[in-house]
């Protein structure tokens, strides 16, 4: 297959949260640039308050960049109308609460909303897409269960299935591994890689899990205090001094035979930490 063209183009995009009046802005994300093709998985990495969520919102189009541009297939994401945007961009957020309980399939069916009209009732095609999405994430068996009665890992799969039902070009995930155990984390990221390859998505994962990003990302965007410090493949971004500065911890970086970096706490290698959280819990 020919090389995939650039789908997501972030060019010198910046944002500032105003404190009102002439006061200095509360938080600024300085000019950030990177590009992503379809089937690529990008990890946006950084400690808390580094600007990860702001960047995610710029990509999702819910924030308009103060300068620069965020383009998806040539369209400014913040200028798309809500429906069109939801057909192109799916966002998986951290935990959300339902006011009235839903069954898993009803939840996934919400992903078809951007394709419906006001008095539209879902078609056979919509239901086929829902079933397919549940199957793709391996959650068909919980389709009839209530969302508040299934395990965290199953719930996360259903949430991803809803994003798949949107049939997006760009899939954004905000800390998707936050409440998952290590097994479920690996499974989710492997699944995201596979989905990106099969469905030609561009996937952007916001995370502070250094080793998860190192193991699965094609590209890493490293943020620190509102600055984009480095963009590139994990092997280029994972420099010891750089990571130590960003995460303010003594770290070691090793490389696997395939060239994937692996981070551990310096002098503590024998503890065999699977992943080093950026922020001590």
């Amino acid at each position: 297959m020919s090389a995939d063209s650039v789908r997501l183009n972030v060019e010198q995009a910046s944002y500032a949260y105003s404190a009102g009046g002439r006061q200095a802005p509360l938080f600024t994300l300085e000019a950030t640039s990177f590009q992503a093709r379809s089937r690529e998985l990008v990890a946006v990495l950084g400690p808390n308050a580094s600007g990860k969520s702001t960047l995610l919102r710029l990509l999702a189009g819910t924030l308009k960049p103060l300068s620069g541009r965020v383009e998806l297939d040539g369209f400014h994401t913040s200028q798309l109308d809500p429906r069109t945007r939801a057909q192109k961009i799916a966002v998986v957020q951290q935990e959300s609460s339902m006011l009235f309980p839903l069954r898993a399939w009803e939840y996934v069916l919400q992903g078809r909303h951007p394709y419906g009209r006001t008095f539209h009732f879902e078609s056979e095609e919509d239901f086929a897409i829902v079933e397919n999405a549940l199957e793709q994430v391996g959650a068909s068996h919980v389709a009839e269960r209530w969302m508040d009665k299934i395990s965290g890992g199953e719930k996360q799969r259903v949430v991803v299935a809803r994003a798949l039902a949107q049939q997006p070009l760009l899939l954004l995930l905000d800390e998707p591994t936050l409440h998952l155990d290590i097994g479920a984390q690996v499974e989710l990221l492997e699944r995201l890689r596979r989905l990106a390859a099969e469905n030609h998505y561009t996937v952007v994962v916001v995370t502070h899990e250094l080793n998860m990003a190192a193991a699965f990302a094609d590209q890493v965007v490293l943020l620190h205090k509102g600055k984009c410090l480095k963009v590139g493949p994990p092997a280029e971004v994972y420099r010891r001094e750089l990571l130590e500065q960003v995460f303010e911890a003594p770290l070691d970086v090793e490389f696997s035979p395939e060239g994937r970096p692996r981070v551990s706490i310096r002098g503590r290698k024998e503890t065999g930490l699977g992943s080093v959280p950026a922020q001590p819990a």
Partner: protein, 339 residues
């Protein structure tokens, strides 16, 4: 997967319409002068073929002069309050939201009273002032219910209940100091009462307002389903959140204002009916809105029939009946939510 189809919505409505007709027959039959169902059916048949002149005059007065207008009013008010309640629940993401509990009905009542004191000669001023009172109150309660920039469920309810109490006090003050004016009694405005039929000239306004209000909320039904999952989620799923919230805010205020201007502050209908309907037909707003409109009509027709007959010949205000049923349900839902 038990799918929601247009067909299922129609069937649900058809069943509820039949129940509503049953309730109407019961309401026509029961009262200080009981009337047999046979007589009712025969007389309705005569009216249908244009031979109403043949009916005994006493019968005509009771059925068509007294009971039927009151039933029609009950249907309108019940539908308006239930849909307003379902709308507020989605708008505020609070399952306990209800025009009465949030003080919106009291605000509408105060608006209506002020219009009757200040400018009763302007046509349609009462429903307009009631709408303004409702809209202002829900705005105030919305800001009272915020903590650290977030809408907080319990604070919102508390803010609404206190607002209702304050506005009731203002209403009592006005009613007491201005006694003798041509205002309906305190019980009417504070508890709600259906004994005054809709004035002839208000009928079409009320009908059109009701239809527009309910249709406006129904037009956002699919969006409201997503809004219940949170505003951020809804935005990412393609909902124009600002527009939807504005539509529901205005329409629910119109519905509350209309209902209160003709029947006073009848409580808990907007809480009880949507919850009963969620249990019966599910929580999808595309079926919940029409089901709540019909269910509200049924509930208020029955409640008013009970209020008329339980202590006959004395009549209770219908609001006393709905509060007797509504308050315990409110407590139950509140306890369940806190677990």
């Amino acid at each position: 997967m038990k799918r929601l189809t247009f067909r299922r919505v129609l069937w649900t409505c058809a069943v509820l319409v039949v129940v509503l007709l049953g309730a109407v027959v019961l309401a026509l039959k029961l009262g200080a002068v009981p009337i047999s169902v046979t007589d009712l059916v025969l007389s309705l048949g005569r009216v249908a073929i244009g031979r109403s002149a043949e009916l005994p005059s006493q019968f005509q007065v009771i059925v068509f002069g007294l009971r039927l207008p009151r039933i029609i009013l009950a249907i309108f008010v019940g539908a308006a309050l239930s849909v307003a309640g379902a709308g507020f629940q989605a708008l505020l993401r609070n399952p306990l939201a209800d025009p009465y509990v949030l003080g919106v009905s009291s605000g509408a009542a105060l608006g209506a009273i002020l219009s009757l004191i200040l400018a009763p000669e302007i046509p349609l001023v009462t429903p307009a002032a009631a709408f303004a009172g409702a809209a202002l109150t829900i705005t105030a309660v919305y800001f009272l219910g915020r903590r650290e920039g977030q809408l907080d469920g319990s604070t919102l309810l508390l803010g609404g209940i206190i607002t209702a109490s304050f506005l009731s006090a203002v209403i009592m003050f006005l009613m007491t100091t201005l006694a003798g004016r041509d205002l309906r009694g305190m019980a009417f405005w504070l508890m709600g009462d259906l004994s005054t039929p809709l004035p002839e000239e208000l009928r079409w306004v009320f009908g059109v307002g009701l239809a527009v209000g309910i249709s406006a909320i129904y037009s956002t039904a699919a969006d409201l389903n997503l809004l219940l999952g949170g505003e951020n989620e809804a935005i990412h799923l393609g909902v124009d959140v600002r527009r939807v919230k504005l539509v529901v805010y205005l329409a629910a205020s119109v519905l509350t204002g209309l209902a209160v201007s003709v029947s006073g502050a009848i409580g808990y209908v907007g809480l009880l009916v949507p919850h009963a309907m969620r249990w019966l037909v599910g929580s999808d707003y595309r079926v919940l809105i029409p089901a709540s409109a019909l269910g509200g009509a049924i509930a208020v027709v029955l409640a008013d029939t009970l209020a008329r007959t339980i202590a006959a010949p004395t009549e209770l205000p219908v609001g006393a009946m709905t509060a007797l049923a509504g308050a315990p349900v409110f407590i139950y839902l509140l306890r369940r939510r806190m677990r």
